[in-house]
Symmetry: C3
Subunit: 200 residues, 3 copies
């Protein structure tokens, strides 16, 4: 499943860049930016692994995650203006990361003997909490709780994966289809400004 | 010990409602509110389980906790005005949750070979940190550090439980008495506006 | 290695005092101050142990850490004015704690079969995240991300320790030299106002 690993590193890179850009906006220094980049990229998977007891947590076993964050740091500082122009593409890349991290989280949850609702939650935590920790560390109320139906897309995609996986037993296609579900919902939500508010 | 499980679910419901009401006050969307509700309700026990290494953490094994949070979400949105009128009763319910979570935390701590001070700390963490995480995620300084002798009530109740349990070996009565100790101290503290400030 | 344990308790005391003084500045009550003191002192090591899966986390096994925090609480409230006059010495003490916690973190990381970059990260996490959690709980953007090359000192010191340990196999001297490296870099950085900003 090399394409999964490649996408995982790609998602890590995109999440790290998004964290580092936030850090730069907050006047963090180089190392502070690197820490925020790392936390944004691996924070969700880290919390999932800690909740499951899958320790030492995943990224500690593979130095490529740390090196990807260092690459993100170099790219962010050298190409900052170009990246900012690419914000729209960044949003698309970010959506790919969210889709993949959701499904990878569900797959990790499946290794444990847990109820379905908890396995779906592992997908949501993986995709969402990196951004939540980034927002907590930069002292803002996490965006995700207010502005996007980001977590909803993850819940739906995770459920689709579990259904497809259960009925088709075709892992690769289940992953691809459910990742696309997450990505399309999130894409449409942002484009059409969907939200799940209930008026007070 | 069915009454313990029933009270645990009841405490989860009350804590989740308190989290969801805070989330609504902060303009969170439905899923954001659900996440804050879940974190408020299970955050303390989660941190306790992570510190102890009791993983996968407790609520992941039992889907009733997640469904209780969903119930809390429905109640909070449909009955919001009635619940706000019930704030005083909510405070009482909340106190029941704190008392129970403290003692359940101590009992879990007792399963490990740890010094007494650490076991008491597991009771405090269980009862207190759900609210702390809620406050961190909604970007306010945790109330508990300033306004109530909440944690003190937990420390005293946890100590009473350990003493009673050690000398009487009567688990149920030790639980009931020490829960009442937590609840009465917290009730009196709020009613009489006790605090543990030392003037600067 | 009694001197290591003594320094560890000393570092815990100094970190706890720094946390408690911050808590007092924020109008926290006694128990709130104690919790912030504990979190500041043991938070970094706790996160390291959680990431590694070394649970129950270290300080839970040894009540001296909690008692040291209680001692810090008594000292902070009774000797507050003297301590504030000692701020310069406090900074020096704090630097000793950072140096030691970095190396202890690396040594704990070495017990697991992890890549070098992850082991260095365990040193940084141990030394740095107590202060980060303190800042998150008191609702400020963590100072370390902006003002000091604190984490950089930890990264360099951790690398020096790994090199010395690998080539000399002399544990005590490797520890002493690399702790001094952390302390000297941090001392010079603060005195000379070094930073790692790259202008925007």
């Amino acid at each position: 499943m090399d394409w999964v690993y490649a996408l995982d590193i790609f998602g890590t890179l995109v999440f790290a860049i998004s964290g580092i850009l936030t850090a730069i906006d907050n006047d963090f220094d180089l190392v502070g930016s690197a820490i925020i980049g790392l936390v944004t990229a691996v924070g969700g998977g880290t919390l999932r692994d800690i909740l499951l007891g899958a320790t030492p947590v995943g990224w500690l076993h593979d130095s490529n995650y740390i090196f990807t964050v260092i690459l993100a740091l170099i790219l962010s500082y050298t190409l900052k203006n170009s990246i900012l122009k690419l914000r729209k593409s960044m949003f698309l890349f970010d959506t790919i990361g969210i889709g993949l991290f959701t499904i990878l989280g569900v797959k990790k949850g499946l290794l444990y003997d847990l109820p379905t609702s908890s396995i779906i939650m592992m997908g949501v935590v993986s995709a969402v909490f990196g951004g939540v920790i980034r927002d907590v560390l930069t002292n803002v109320v996490p965006l995700i709780f207010r502005k996007e139906i980001y977590a909803t897309a993850c819940i739906i995609g995770a459920s689709v994966f579990l259904l497809l996986n259960h009925y088709t037993h075709h892992d690769t296609w289940s992953m691809i289809v459910s990742m696309l579900v997450v990505m399309i919902i999130r894409y449409l939500a942002v484009i059409r400004n969907w939200s799940l508010y209930i008026s007070k």
